[in-house]
Symmetry: C2
Subunit: 195 residues, 2 copies
Amino acid sequence: MDWKKLFPQFEPELIEIIEKNAVQKTFAAGEVIMRTGQYIKSTALVLEGQIKIYRENQDGGEFLMYYLEPGQACAVSMICALQSETSEITAIAEVDTEVLLIPVQLMDDLMNQYKSWYQFVIQTYRSRFDELISVVDNIAFHNMDERLEFYLKRHAKNSGKNVIETSHQQIADDLNSSREVISRLLKKDGAAKIS
Amino acid sequence: MDWKKLFPQFEPELIEIIEKNAVQKTFAAGEVIMRTGQYIKSTALVLEGQIKIYRENQDGGEFLMYYLEPGQACAVSMICALQSETSEITAIAEVDTEVLLIPVQLMDDLMNQYKSWYQFVIQTYRSRFDELISVVDNIAFHNMDERLEFYLKRHAKNSGKNVIETSHQQIADDLNSSREVISRLLKKDGAAKIS
DNA sequence: CTTGTTTTGTGACAGCTATCACATGAACTA
DNA sequence: TAGTTCATGTGATAGCTGTCACAAAACAAG
């Protein structure tokens, strides 16, 4: 697959270096890409599919933070990789997903030598930071009905479809809520949502 | 004041450049340093005092995200500065605070030329990102009593004192809750807290 | 001391959400 | 067709939190 089209801002030399050193890897839908506490040894560029980034707590609760799409990179792995630390989040492949793994050792060089890479990294930080802030916004200021609406809209936007195929249970998990609540809300708001 | 001690990792040449180009500024307690939607033209290094970073929503609700201490920098302003964008958060001086303002134009040069600056920026991103994740954790997985406990502990740690001097109302605002709730919880948990 | 202001305590109540228990329905298989 | 499994609907209930109303305390200043 021609991954370069996903990163048009990269200069040719940078692309060459990445192609020489990075490893392409495929994850099946549902497969865990990065687990809480795991040691990070490379940064992932998403080529195809979708990665779900979420937080787990001790009691088995989980909470969706955001999705990574083709053309994006994992900010957490970047940060961790540059400091050889472990991550605090979990990443799983939502669907069959292909990524390009760039080894840590390369990161510093790329940052120093390629302006386009440097700007890509900054851009990645910014967008993930913004995303996190909007997540905080949501849970800090909004009730479940509004959070659900936000969730559905984001989901629709991400998938490009108007019909969302997920179980109520899955939605409840993503929002750290419970199935019954989601069912009730969907029924209640459903009427308003059709408009 | 000798600010260099706060940033021992900076190489002499970098310090020189900063001294030549940065502007030192003092904010009185309560003064707004950065407002939502404001255009960012410089990055702030905290020299003295404490800056409170929080999110506001339309209805006047607010929500504390974290504090900036001497020796730290504002990640949001870095990100925004590098992209000439507006911020989504508000920063006010908790107490009388002194900062060093580094103009945007300088940022790119510093990043390219000084490894210690580059690493400082990365470190800043990482710590703020981690902080945000722990904030998400808190509101996603914990009830008000636990959030209050977390808040008090952090507050005590930041101020270095064991006695916290704030009104219940202020705590309620920071947690986007209401005074009565805080009062009751403090009374209830108080017994357990003395231990 | 008296008065006014700010902070804190308390009870009543309503709304939201988690949980339990169980019913219904839909889809698939033997 | 009957049985099985998974997804969804529904009622009852309890706990947490926000809100209102008002009382009690603490504090400052005249």
